[in-house]
């Protein structure tokens, strides 16, 4: 089989003949903003009794090249929410700066103090998610999408754990557990074993949730060729955000790899 990326998703030359590209336009509008270049892979997140755990590895890939290995893809917003970015890293930087401006705007209106670290006037995770959804949908309608899938973790206006996703099309949804990118296929089934419903998630302890998410990160590292064993993990509760940005995957076992058949160039 032809494994070259150029052949992905194309009719096979050996069956259908060479691809006729003559009718394709060779000139046109600048399209450099319409495909991701340097990308981050999955973000996984899981709700528990009194908060949310969210994790993403520290890799930014340039195609299949592991280009940057110390990239922080979890961003804290107003000390009370965490935004996890998958997809294009430069679009993530744009959004991060934009959210930074938003956070400064917030401090104009309500000068926070130790009395009310996040007073009623301050944007919570639910507000932030709604805002990002509008932003992403607007950009999609401008045919200039921000090439990201974003998970927002934090608390809603009732101080309940909040977790939701928005992607480059502005599609938004929420669930007790969420994973973007490859994680949607590889991590979600694992998390759903522990928290299929909101009720299940509300029974999970913090330690259990962290354990499950770490397990997911490990499975993703085994299976996802654009991932890395160094990752960031954050726990959001009403006491704030605990973010660790230099975690190492522990207790890896590659014994299973021996038994994998059907990939790559092996002939057996």
């Amino acid at each position: 089989m032809d494994h070259r990326p150029q052949a992905w998703g194309r009719p096979r030359d050996d069956i259908y003949g060479a691809y006729d590209g003559s009718y394709l336009q060779t000139s046109g509008p600048k399209q450099s903003t319409q495909a991701p270049v340097v990308t981050g892979t999955s973000v996984v997140a899981l709700k528990f009794k009194d908060g949310v755990v969210i994790a993403a590895d520290n890799l930014a890939s340039y195609g299949s090249l592991a280009r940057f290995t110390n990239v922080k893809r979890l961003r804290v917003f107003l000390d009370s929410s965490v935004v996890g970015f998958g997809g294009d890293v430069s679009d993530m930087q744009y959004l991060d700066r934009h959210l930074n401006e938003l956070a400064i705007d917030e401090s104009y209106e309500t000068t926070p103090s130790a009395d009310h670290p996040s007073p009623g006037g301050t944007l919570n995770a639910a507000n932030l998610h709604k805002y990002l959804q509008k932003l992403m949908y607007k950009r999609r309608n401008d045919f200039d999408p921000l090439w990201n899938q974003i998970l927002v973790a934090g608390l809603d206006s009732g101080s309940k754990p909040f977790l939701a996703s928005v992607d480059l099309r502005g599609t938004a949804f929420s669930s007790p557990s969420l994973a973007s990118g490859f994680g949607a296929a590889l991590a979600q089934p694992i998390m759903r074993k522990y928290a299929a419903t909101e009720e299940d998630a509300a029974r999970l302890s913090r330690d259990e949730a962290v354990q499950v998410v770490k397990e997911c990160m490990k499975v993703l590292y085994y299976r996802d060729a654009r991932s890395m064993d160094k990752y960031s993990i954050a726990v959001v509760t009403k006491d704030g955000v605990e973010l660790k940005e230099d975690e190492q995957l522990e207790k890896q076992s590659w014994a299973f790899a021996e038994r994998i058949r059907g990939y790559g160039t092996q002939t057996v």
């Binding site: 990239v71 890293v89 401006e101 401090s107 103090s113």
Partner: protein
């Protein structure tokens, strides 16, 4: 002022023959009628405080804040015409944002003071505008830590300094006062408005300069005391005390400009009220009963 009536006080952009700009001097007069505001720079932070004159009983208590946040680490308070102050704050925020857009890093307090000083000075140059009727006090804490660039994703090179010299102290608390002429200086303690004379005299007694040892929490209490002391109960209407503070990353506000917590403010206010009352009583019946008392500050006051 012999030059009054000669016409030189009508135009902003014209000097009088003896080298004065009368419009600027009149603007200073406008400031002298405003509620007292002060700033204290101490060893681990900055405190801003203002005597907010309550113009009407119909105004909600604690609403209509007079101290503004310009960037996370910057606060501004002003005495004089409130609308002018509001515009000053708007412009300061624009400057802070523009700095972030260009340099991807928070604006140093000194640079904000410089830009706003220049902005106010421009309003003394043209016939079409009048000077600002405010004196603004700008307080900030420039981070002493190695800050990430805004939006940065990696950690940058592990070796090689980012413009910082090893062993040299970077960042720290800063305080500037900008006058209607556009003049600005850096201060250890600054005061503007009605009660500035009393306030300045009190600020001079504090241990602020050089290796001043006053702590941030003490400074909050001193600020409250000074505002209460400089307030004239007989002449003036009621007032509210508004205070904010900025500490370093390891202090109580974690490098941010924040309102002083209610509990601390009320504690400081209670003590300030007591001391102010005592100072007034002391004026009447001389310091016979104050002598055995331990209060040194009242004693200082008597000597004046």
């Amino acid at each position: 002022m012999t030059s009054i009536g000669t016409g030189y006080d009508l135009a902003n952009s014209i000097f009088s023959p003896d080298g004065r700009n009368f419009q600027v001097e009149y603007a200073v007069k406008a400031v002298e009628n405003g509620g007292t505001s002060i700033g204290i720079r101490c060893k681990d932070g900055v405190v801003l405080a203002v005597e907010k004159v309550v113009a009407s009983k119909l105004l909600k208590q604690g609403a209509n804040k007079r101290i503004a946040t310009v960037d996370r680490h910057l606060g501004v308070v002003y005495s004089g015409m409130v609308p002018d102050g509001r515009h000053f704050v708007d412009r300061s925020r624009d400057e802070a944002r523009a700095w972030r857009d260009t340099f991807k890093t928070p604006i140093p307090t000194a640079d904000l003071a410089s830009r706003m000083g220049g902005y106010m000075q421009a309003y003394t140059l043209y016939q079409s505008v009048r000077p600002f009727g405010i004196t603004a006090i700008v307080g900030g804490f420039d981070s002493e830590l190695e800050l990430p660039v805004d939006g940065e994703v990696g950690s940058g090179p592990a070796v090689g300094a980012g413009g910082k010299t090893a062993g040299k102290k970077h960042g720290g608390p800063f305080l500037y006062m900008i006058e209607p002429s556009g003049l600005y200086w850096g201060y250890y303690g600054a005061a503007a408005g009605k009660g500035r004379q009393v306030a300045k005299a009190e600020l001079e007694k504090l241990d602020l300069g050089g290796s001043g040892e006053l702590s941030l929490e003490q400074a909050v209490k001193e600020a409250a005391r000074i505002i209460y002391l400089s307030h004239d109960d007989v002449k003036d209407k009621k007032f509210e005390l508004e205070m904010s503070w900025i500490s370093g990353a390891d202090g109580p506000t974690k490098g941010k400009h924040q309102e002083v917590p209610k509990a601390l403010r009320e504690e400081a206010e209670k003590e300030a009220e007591r001391l102010a009352k005592k100072a007034v009583e002391g004026d009447d019946d001389d310091d016979d009963d104050d002598d055995e008392d331990d209060d040194k500050k009242d004693g200082d006051k008597m000597e004046e």
